[in-house]
């Protein structure tokens, strides 16, 4: 624990990013417990109030408290992004490893698949799929993951191919270790740094894509709300109901900046190429 804190403090952008994301996560998780309002309970008589003391971020078209909704939306948005990232990263690692170690035609097929999947304009294809009627949260997560694992797979594969040729792996082979052990104990930890950095950056990309889908009018279904859907609700009248879209927008940007900062920071720490004098 202390070590983690030390690592976080050792890089400015990692520090700033961690605090930003920390605040957002705590806000989203504990906020709903403290808020007097439920994210979905309506009070039509209090609809569309601008920010006040009783509703710090105002109310929406149904008189729901925007603050409570943004806190709930944080859970959904971050949840979607984190889950999709996890699935994508695990898939990417597995496929990358298979591709690197099995090699041959399987490798060629998998890498061609990666090429193809990377070739799809991500937003468009997700829009297409979700626009075609598959729009539950589970499916959104699944599709986000399906169109995101390729980068990780590529990174894992190419890093493994490089590391596999390193003398310390040759040494491990010469020791007579089993292949499984060489892969998971000797090779994978050396790839982990890059994977973590890409995963963190992937989270921010997915938040961006999720909110873009919501912006185009697809995405999470009511009464659930992601930040993107909240923002879109306010877009009907962006000036008259500015508080709905402005605050949710701020959270989207803050979360993306936060994860990007963490990613940058981790890269600074893990990759000596990027070391800068701090």
């Amino acid at each position: 624990m202390k070590r983690i804190v030390n690592i976080i403090c050792s890089d400015k952008s990692l520090y700033a990013g961690s605090i930003l994301i920390g605040i957002i996560i705590i806000f989203s998780l504990t906020g709903p417990l403290l808020s007097p309002y439920n994210y979905s309970s309506q009070n039509l008589s209090e609809a569309l109030q601008s920010p006040s003391i009783s509703h710090p971020l105002g109310t929406d078209y149904y008189g729901r408290d925007v603050l409570a909704r943004i806190m709930h939306g944080g859970q959904i948005t971050l949840g979607i992004a984190l889950l999709a990232t996890t699935i994508a990263v695990l898939t990417g690692i597995i496929i990358g490893l298979i591709s690197a170690f099995v090699g041959g035609w399987l490798d060629r097929i998998l890498m061609r698949l990666v090429d193809i999947m990377l070739g799809f304009p991500k937003l468009f294809i997700i829009l297409l799929v979700i626009g075609m009627g598959y729009s539950s949260i589970g499916l959104i997560i699944l599709f986000l993951a399906i169109f995101s694992w390729m980068e990780i797979a590529r990174i894992v594969r190419s890093e493994v191919l490089v590391i596999r040729e390193q003398l310390y792996i040759k040494s491990a082979e010469a020791i007579g270790l089993r292949r499984r052990r060489i892969i998971f104990i000797h090779i994978l930890p050396n790839v982990m740094g890059t994977i973590i950095v890409s995963s963190v950056l992937l989270i921010s990309t997915l938040i961006l894509i999720e909110s873009s889908i919501s912006f185009l009018g697809l995405g999470v279904q009511p009464p659930n709300a992601s930040w993107g859907t909240i923002l879109t609700e306010g877009r009907i009248d962006p000036i008259g109901t500015w508080w709905i879209s402005v605050f949710s927008g701020i959270f989207i940007i803050a979360a993306i900046i936060g994860f990007n900062l963490i990613g940058d920071g981790l890269r600074n720490i893990l990759d000596p190429k990027f070391t800068e004098n701090t």
Partner: protein, 580 residues
């Protein structure tokens, strides 16, 4: 982007009866006491949300296309505001034969097509032939069902012959724009949807088609040889395609766009506030439209019905295969649900005042409308709960959800994705029914799925959507048992009494008897509640105030575009640039 208007196209019903007095139509339009002389010239820019798909009256479907077509093409005659009488257009006058089975139109002889070819009776006959050709797939084909033949004894006379006498014969005959034979006869009818004509229309209207920039603009210019001498006044009408609502409103305010239809009530409220009798340049225009929203309940058990549909060997008869829905099969439950929804609050929350409460199947613009005939279900959650418990729906397991025989009262409320208003309605209903212990899950469904795979096979619990009604009304496709297998009859409502009332109303030729039947129908349906009617919407449009003599009513925004004009001192940059 989305305009899935399912238009109920119906036979003429009560167009003969007029009952204006009962509708508090919003006063509007040209009350200007402008004494300046009408000036010609100027450009009208109309902001539209989607690109027209075709400018051919035979293949057009979207509202945008229809609006443009209404400026380029003419019918034989136009319906007046009373929805009863007609104003001559391409036809100077018309007479029924003595036995009323034939209708003879005498055409104008001074009409030229936009390519300067003369308009003749042959065009009317050819238009009719295309309209009834199934390969053309004209969406108004049912209007022509009662017509046996159309003939042109000479170049300026057309005779329509009918199967049987009906009050709608005149409307049936004039419905549909007249298209030029000399151009369309070169196209095979089955290729009509790909015809060159669709993007280069030639009509007889006050404006002629000039050009179409993909996804950007459709430009019409003044038809200088229009048969009404001296009209139109405007030089140019440009339809500017701006899909984004915010963008569209911005342009309306900045003057880049002069006219926008279908403004969201919330935005409209702002425009009304700014206008405040002429303080801003954008004049709000609202009029009785033809749209209403409702909740449709599935009265039958979907699973049993699906089974019946699967079973190909069996001739499905209503009585054999209908099991009442476990929730909505009972009228008491439906009335309880209706009472549990605060429809006034809901109407206001989603329409910001731009809607009227609605209780019956007859919309206020129709002659058949009689508010007194309807049963009014007032908001009363306590009574609703009482009714439900009488039906056995009580919260026996204390989980906050009503249940009966171990079945919890929870259902999905589907609606069309992409429609913000319906989504809002479903969300509000979810909350309000939640308060009396019913769990509603709103589900947004892609239109194709909703209208294709859910409603027609009655595979849903409850639905929130809306109808656009024709200028005449017929409820048979919605509720008559003969339509049971057709897609619009998705509630599975079956009432022999309704069937007989419906037939009786259609068979009588006496308007007063018919009205009586109609009152009965309204009372019956508003009691039986296959739908819970929510509200009737007003159309919200806005136009720049420099346009004079703009009229609009329940027929729409484009009643007299050839009469619109702009005073010389109010011309803007666009006008001037185009002029020289």
């Amino acid at each position: 982007m989305k305009t899935t208007h399912l238009i109920i196209v119906v036979c003429l019903v009560f167009a003969l009866f007029s009952c204006d007095s009962k509708i508090k139509n919003i006063k509007q339009s040209s009350s200007e006491t402008d004494t300046t002389e009408i000036a010609d010239g100027g450009t009208l820019v109309i902001g539209v949300r989607s690109e027209p798909e075709s400018l051919n009256p035979l293949t057009a479907l979207s509202q945008t296309s229809r609006n443009i077509i209404s400026l380029v093409f003419r019918r034989l005659a136009d319906l007046n505001e009373d929805l009863t009488t007609f104003t001559p257009q391409l036809a100077k006058k018309w007479v029924f034969s003595s036995d009323s089975m034939n209708l003879t139109f005498h055409l104008r002889t001074d009409v030229l097509w936009h390519d300067n070819k003369p308009f003749t009776a042959a065009d009317v006959v050819y238009s009719y032939q295309l309209q009834i050709n199934p390969n053309v797939a004209w969406d108004g084909i049912s209007y022509k069902a009662n017509i046996t033949s159309v003939q042109a004894p000479d170049d300026s006379t057309v005779v329509f012959a009918f199967h049987k006498k009906s009050l709608s014969m005149l409307m049936d005959a004039v419905e549909g724009y007249i298209v030029p034979k000399h151009i369309l006869e070169h196209d095979p009818p089955e290729k009509m949807h790909e015809s060159h004509f669709n993007r280069n229309p030639i009509g007889t209207g006050p404006f002629r088609f000039l050009g179409w920039k993909d996804q950007q603009t459709v430009t019409l210019i003044k038809n200088i040889s229009y048969y009404e001498i001296g009209k139109p006044h405007l030089d140019r009408i440009i339809f500017k395609i701006v899909p984004d609502n915010l963008n569209l409103l911005t342009q309306l305010k900045s003057g880049e766009v002069d006219l926008v239809e279908g403004i969201y009530p919330k935005d409209f409220q702002g425009i009304v506030k700014n206008w405040d009798g002429g303080k801003s340049s954008v004049r709000p225009v609202s009029y009785m439209g033809r749209r209403y929203d409702f909740i449709g309940w599935n009265l039958i058990d979907p699973d049993t019905y699906q089974e019946a549909l699967q079973n190909e060997n069996t001739e499905i008869t209503i009585t054999d295969y209908i099991k009442p829905n476990k929730f909505f099969g009972s009228q008491k439950v439906r009335s309880a649900l209706t009472m549990a929804i605060d429809r006034d609050a809901l109407t206001n929350a989603v329409n910001f005042g731009m809607a009227l409460p609605m209780n019956s199947p007859a919309p206020p613009i129709l002659a058949a409308y009689n508010e007194d005939a309807n049963i009014h279900w007032l908001y009363d959650p306590r009574q609703a709960r009482k009714l439900l418990s009488e039906e056995g729906w009580i919260d026996s397991d204390k989980d906050g959800i009503l249940d009966k025989d171990g079945v919890a009262f929870e259902f999905e409320m589907v609606t069309e994705s992409g429609n913000v208003r319906w989504k809002q309605v479903a969300t509000i209903i979810q909350d309000q029914l939640g308060k009396i212990g019913i769990r509603v899950t709103p589900r947004l469904v892609e239109p194709a799925l909703l209208y294709g795979k859910m409603l027609p096979p009655k595979d849903f619990d409850a639905v929130v959507i809306g109808w656009v009604v024709g200028l005449t009304m017929d409820l048979a496709p919605l509720f008559h048992s003969s339509s049971f297998l057709t897609p619009f009859h998705f509630t599975g409502y079956y009432s022999p009494r309704y069937d007989s009332l419906d037939s009786a109303s259609k068979n009588t030729l006496d308007p007063e008897t018919a009205q009586k039947y109609y009152n009965d129908i309204a009372r019956l349906l508003s009691y039986d509640l296959p739908y819970t009617w929510l509200y009737y919407r007003l159309e919200c449009s806005a136009i720049h105030k420099r346009f004079k003599n703009v009229m609009s009513d329940k027929r729409g925004m484009y009643i007299n575009p050839e009469d619109w004009w702009i005073p010389l001192n109010e011309r803007n940059r666009t006008d001037k640039l185009f002029e020289g």
